[in-house]
Symmetry: C2
Subunit: 464 residues, 2 copies
């Protein structure tokens, strides 16, 4: 199913050892400066060739008047930040050095009414066999190669890839992943996607070992049927999460005027995602949260979740969301209840949610988890820390060694202690969220992914 | 409608000039220590009387063996942190100094199966005319009097009051208000609310000049009809926002086992809120966001909202939420469109959302807002800053001087600049939210409050 030619071209981009920046600038306010600066500060190990006829050196690198003037035979990729009308020339220049892949950050094409200019770019690239991302985009980041040709600067390595038709959604996603100390494998700003599109990119990331989950913000897809088929072939290996706005009439009109996407019918997109097993996100938080939980957790054995909480209220809020999203807040059997009763202080409320109450320390969570170790019918454990509880990560580490269930955490109302503990929990690979509702929605996405996998398994068995 | 006796009693608590702490402790891990420490660090100006027969001094204040032993005639209020079985004695002791109001933090009553002990407390308090909050609660904070008898420490003064049956929800709310530099007027942890309840408290805050909005987390109400009637009498003066979990069967069961509230039917509560004009929140974020926008904005003249954004994608996401929540993303008239076209760069997308595109600086927002100044049909302006845009607060300040429309902001994908700008925007009184979806949901709550006021106005006119 995967097309090898696009994977090869994108390989030259993501794993580039030599990058030309057409439109690099000494002026710190120009995009051509910011991109080059981020490439350097991101720690790129390969060679950088700034192209600008009016400079001899930019940010410490010798500058060239054209790509052709660079004294080597092959350049892996080129980042283009020149005004729209010069982009065709740059592509022709790039062809002299056998460039396989370009990133056209420059705007001023279809989105500004210049359809013809964009067609010229497409045709020129095709003529020379150059594949490209953009135009009118915010660049490309691929952390395994310390390649940050976007703004803002993204350095933290992680396993989530985000493909976005909105630079802001991508930047917000990257910012949250940085705050969470989780990082990204890649951020691709799609722009007008007049060549490389979401289908090409999910094919690339499906075989990229540094990426465990693919998140997408899309305002439309170029080929709905192909999107569905390619998606379906990938989700068995890696989860795909998609946020596509435009579910209302005015939202859909706004989407069309933004990226001039043929946005198509929202309901059809929705149905295609379901068919393919692509998980839908409804908000930017969900896009991030779903990627986060799916990148950190294994697929659970079922949808049954035990909530262990120091905050009764938070447990109830999580239960409501679970009930409405196909996560089963199961009843504990009487022998487990008895064991819990015996090992916990008498004022704890034994049930699901299991309320350890406000005086709970982290050790009490550990004691509780130990007692449900053998309860096979519990698939997921949600730990809600609803107070400033220290040492949560220390005890969760012990839990992880002793049980095989998936552990997810919520940390809320924890003052100063909370910030440190969340980072430590993430270091352990425990996805931790700031509210009971966001946490349970994320768990629901994990459960949904499991049901997609199960359905596909049944389909495959039927086909055998 | 307002009962003056309860307002008077609560006045002694919130405006206390002398507070006894029964169960104060030298041990820094004890609640009786933390509460006293927070009272001191919160800047309380009145007299503090720690009560503990085993200490002579706690945290620099002389300690007494009993309240009776304090050498003055009247103590305004007492905070009780002793074990449950001693609470009745403390109330009798408090009566010797004409205490009007107590806060019983101690747990171990109805929630732990000790119904009789709780009844004894209620009867004793009634006998001596002492009103009380709790038992089994996390205390009371009232910042206008620098009174923080809760944990965590809450110092930032603001105009939002939060009444909560969950300590964690209250603490999270307080933490967010602190991070936002907005602060609170009050946090009341209701606990078992066996005396003072939500109805008493909304009556108090309805006449409290330091409070502009009342937020509540409730797992049940003691008297549904009274709650509705009192609520209805208050919302014309101040907005009330309520989060009540238990909309699902299992959520409702969990609520009953948490605070042993007779939670009643969720649908009935929902209907009562609609009838009274109380705004419902569905999540803890909504509870906070709705209080925030309603504390900072005036009631808009209508539901028509113009979105001005640097991020096309964020504008679409906000439009979808508006469409589904009765906020009108109106079409601009052609003369306004023409003026905008002339004053903005040609690549901006003139419409609603008005897309200033990714290269926009803060001044461009100001230019745009100036051009819609006379468009009377625009009631609310949503500014989405979807990039690291500096000086937003500077230009919003200028806007505020020139237009009378309500301004609400979203700041997303703004890296380091974002954090500083959000605080500056809050200083200006502009509510600023972190995602397009949260922002538009908050605007919808503002619009809903307006429609409640309008409906009440019509009702009053009919009654005349």
């Amino acid at each position: 199913m995967i097309q090898n030619d696009i994977v090869d071209s994108l390989h030259y981009l993501f794993h580039a050892q030599s990058i030309a920046i057409a439109g690099a600038s000494e002026n710190p306010n120009k995009t051509g400066h910011i991109i080059m600066k981020n490439l350097i500060e991101g720690g790129f190990k390969g060679d950088i060739y700034p192209i600008n006829p009016r400079s001899s050196e930019i940010l410490g690198w010798p500058c060239f008047s054209s790509i052709e003037a660079i004294p080597i035979d092959k350049i892996d990729s080129v980042i283009i930040v020149v005004p729209a009308k010069f982009v065709v020339d740059i592509l022709e220049d790039a062809a002299t050095k056998h460039v396989s892949c370009a990133v056209i950050i420059s705007g001023g094409f279809r989105e500004a009414g210049n359809e013809e200019l964009e067609k010229d770019v497409v045709n020129t690239a095709k003529k020379y066999g150059i594949r490209f991302i953009g135009p009118n985009c915010q660049g490309v980041t691929y952390t395994p190669n310390s390649l940050c040709a976007t703004w803002p600067l993204m350095k933290s390595r992680g396993s989530m890839a985000i493909i976005s038709q909105s630079g802001t959604v991508g930047a917000a996603f990257a910012g949250w992943s940085e705050d969470d100390n989780l990082g990204l494998s890649s951020f691709i700003s799609l722009g007008n996607k007049s060549d490389i599109d979401e289908i090409d990119l999910i094919q690339y990331f499906s075989q990229d070992n540094s990426t465990s989950v693919i998140g997408m913000y899309l305002e439309g897809v170029n080929d709905g049927r192909k999107f569905m088929n390619v998606g379906a072939s990938i989700v068995n290996k890696k989860p795909i999460i998609a946020l596509r706005p435009g579910r209302t009439k005015k939202g859909s009109i706004a989407a069309q005027s933004h990226t001039k996407s043929i946005s198509g019918d929202y309901k059809i997109f929705d149905a295609a995602c379901k068919q393919a097993g692509i998980i839908r996100a409804d908000t930017v938080y969900e896009l991030y949260d779903f990627c986060k939980i799916l990148s950190l957790c294994k697929t659970p054995a079922g949808n049954r979740c035990l909530i262990i909480t120091s905050s009764g209220g938070s447990g109830i809020l999580a239960t409501d969301v679970a009930e409405q999203n196909n996560v089963d807040i199961l009843s504990l059997d009487s022998s487990t209840k008895n064991i819990l009763q015996q090992s916990l202080p008498p004022h704890c409320i034994i049930g699901n949610p299991l309320d350890l109450t406000g005086d709970s320390n982290a050790e009490r969570y550990y004691e509780a988890v130990k007692r449900v170790r053998t309860a096979d019918y519990v698939n997921i454990i949600l730990l809600i820390f609803g107070d400033p509880i220290p040492e949560t990560a220390h005890y969760v580490k012990k839990m992880k060694k002793e049980i095989s269930k998936e552990i997810v955490a919520c940390y809320i109302g924890g003052g100063d202690i909370q910030g440190r503990e969340i980072l430590s929990l993430h270091e352990l690979g425990i996805p931790t969220f700031p509210t009971p509702e966001r946490t349970m929605k994320a768990i629901a996405a994990l459960v949904q992914y499991r049901s997609f996998l199960q359905r596909n398994l049944i389909k495959m068995e039927e086909q055998d």
